[in-house]
Symmetry: C2
Subunit: 337 residues, 2 copies
């Protein structure tokens, strides 16, 4: 079986570290795996298949003899190094924001639009974490009863902002418990024992870029400009796992049971929905899992064609690292790579 | 000026303690203030106007010479003692769930439907905390442009479940930080560094009673069965303060600026809305304040007649104690008591 040499750019970040773990756990046909960092953390060590490996600073030479370059770094790093990786003959799969809305770059969730991969031109993008879990859970329903409108509020964990934000949640939480003042560094405001509706920067229309990312990426992945979408993105004092409260308006009525049946059969989805025993998805137990969990599936009592549900996933796994690896697997399994 | 003797039933609870503080802070025309507990905490002490007072167990004799009985206890206590208090000549104002949906009991938010007080028959109810902040913020808009539909997701603090839940959040948070296992007592699941979509019990239709309370109370207060409402209620690891992400559909379009102008003039509302400096309401800084804070006011890009906003208040103050006291003040100021 063919093996693929892999570069991981951003290997010391939260998503990069999950990529290393998932490559091992899934027995991905990896040849050499080269972990790169975007600078500051070069020289640190990573364990890859139980071997300690030095993480090197990414350079233009980093992609020689690399088949797949998995980018999990900032947009600037992706913008600079992706064309170089591509010119070196590597396929680029980028989990960051740099290329997602480029017309010539497919934006892929394998459960939803794997066929779009074929249009790639050397670079493939993986969506925002909050988008991935939304479209994966909604697509099986959309296929049988097209969605007309989505209204969503999110509960996004601090790991979406990186390891420093996780440390900040810990530091601030201890400070509050000890009665000390909190001085925010990563965020504009205290996150310990607080929530705030600001993720990424504000745009002129009062929405944040995170909110628009979800709207635009969802439409691109589902190949429609027709779905009306409004989102409020909120940071919550949770380490790992994004949760979403979603109201969906379909073209015609859909019963909660029909939705449950469809989702129970859908790839990548686990339905956790038994109110009688308080069973529903939650971020704490979802952390470390590859699935997208859906529960609280019920009629939207405010609309005859509506359903409401609650969608949770580990934002670093299916929301990040796993989706990129699944894109590579999809290409390998289809003989596209 | 006439003074009113006041009984506080549930004086050792979180809302009861806020009642004592707010009576003092607002120079309410209180005569004697009698703090009662529903049992277990009888004998503990409360400070009322800097005097230490023993909290006595509530009995059928507790309401002699009482003008206003403020109930902040469980529904069973209200159901049992409210008729007794009323028969003793006291006006009952109940912040609990016991009487809210009784047809003959007015359900009052003074900023919204103070006139309904006049229909009282000795008992007046104060709504659920999440309802109070919703209807207070929406009513000024509804008056000029009737609301047709509301979709809401909440972020509700643990203080809504009482002091034991606040302690549980602290205990669990410490356990997680120290790497120990968490065993939930108050809730079905861990609340530290987690969120879960279960508040109050589940009903057969998959909604929780908390979600239906908000729907039914909102319609009762606004005197309409016409508004379509769907709610997802979520507990968040926050001590004090409820936050709400709300999508509102009006009869005709309303601009964010018009909404801001209306809300800026509205009683009890503070607009905090300047994304350029990350100004928006948050529960942590809202704790201890009497206002309802509104921000993130923007077009609902999924509907031509829609707005989205973010509403936060201290659930123990305007969401609890303060609203009951305002009901009493409204009666006194109108000469109804």
């Amino acid at each position: 079986m063919k093996k693929y040499n892999i570069a991981i750019v951003g290997a010391t970040g939260l998503v990069g570290q999950e990529i290393i773990k998932i490559l091992e756990a899934r027995s991905f046909p990896a040849g050499n795996v080269y972990p790169y960092s975007s600078g500051r953390s070069a020289g640190s060590r990573a364990f890859i298949n139980h071997n300690e490996v030095v993480v090197r600073a990414v350079t233009p030479e980093s992609f020689r003899q690399v088949d797949i370059a998995l980018f999990a770094a900032g947009a600037e790093v992706s913008l600079y190094y992706s064309p170089i990786a591509k010119a070196s003959g590597a396929l680029v799969i980028d989990s960051g924001t740099a290329f997602r809305m480029y017309r010539e770059v497919p934006l892929i969730v394998p459960e939803v639009n794997a066929q779009d991969i074929k249009n790639h031109n050397g670079i493939i993008a993986s969506p925002n974490s909050a988008t991935i879990q939304l479209v994966t859970a909604l697509y099986p329903l959309h296929k049988v009863n097209p969605i007309k409108r989505i209204i969503m509020a999110t509960y996004e964990s601090v790991s979406g902002s990186g390891a420093a934000a996780m440390n900040e949640l810990t530091t601030q939480t201890k400070a509050v418990l000890e009665g000390r003042n909190v001085i925010p560094h990563i965020y504009h405001h205290q996150i310990a024992f607080n929530v705030f509706p600001e993720i990424d920067v504000f745009l002129d229309d009062g929405y944040t870029r995170e909110e628009w990312k979800i709207i635009e990426e969802t439409r691109k992945i589902l190949h429609t400009e027709e779905i009306a979408i409004s989102v409020t993105c909120v940071r919550a004092p949770v380490y790992i796992g994004y949760s979403e409260a979603v109201n969906i308006e379909f073209t015609s009525p859909m019963s909660p049971d029909e939705a449950k049946n469809i989702l129970s059969m859908a790839r990548g989805i686990k339905v956790l929905d038994d109110p009688s025993v308080s069973l529903y998805p939650q971020p704490w137990p979802a952390a470390g899992s590859n699935d997208i969990f859906v529960g609280r599936i019920r009629k939207d009592v405010s609309h005859p064609n509506g359903l409401v549900m609650w969608i949770v996933t580990d934002n670093l796994r299916k929301g990040g690292a796993l989706n990129s690896i699944q894109i590579a697997e999809e290409m390998i399994n289809n003989g596209w790579l």
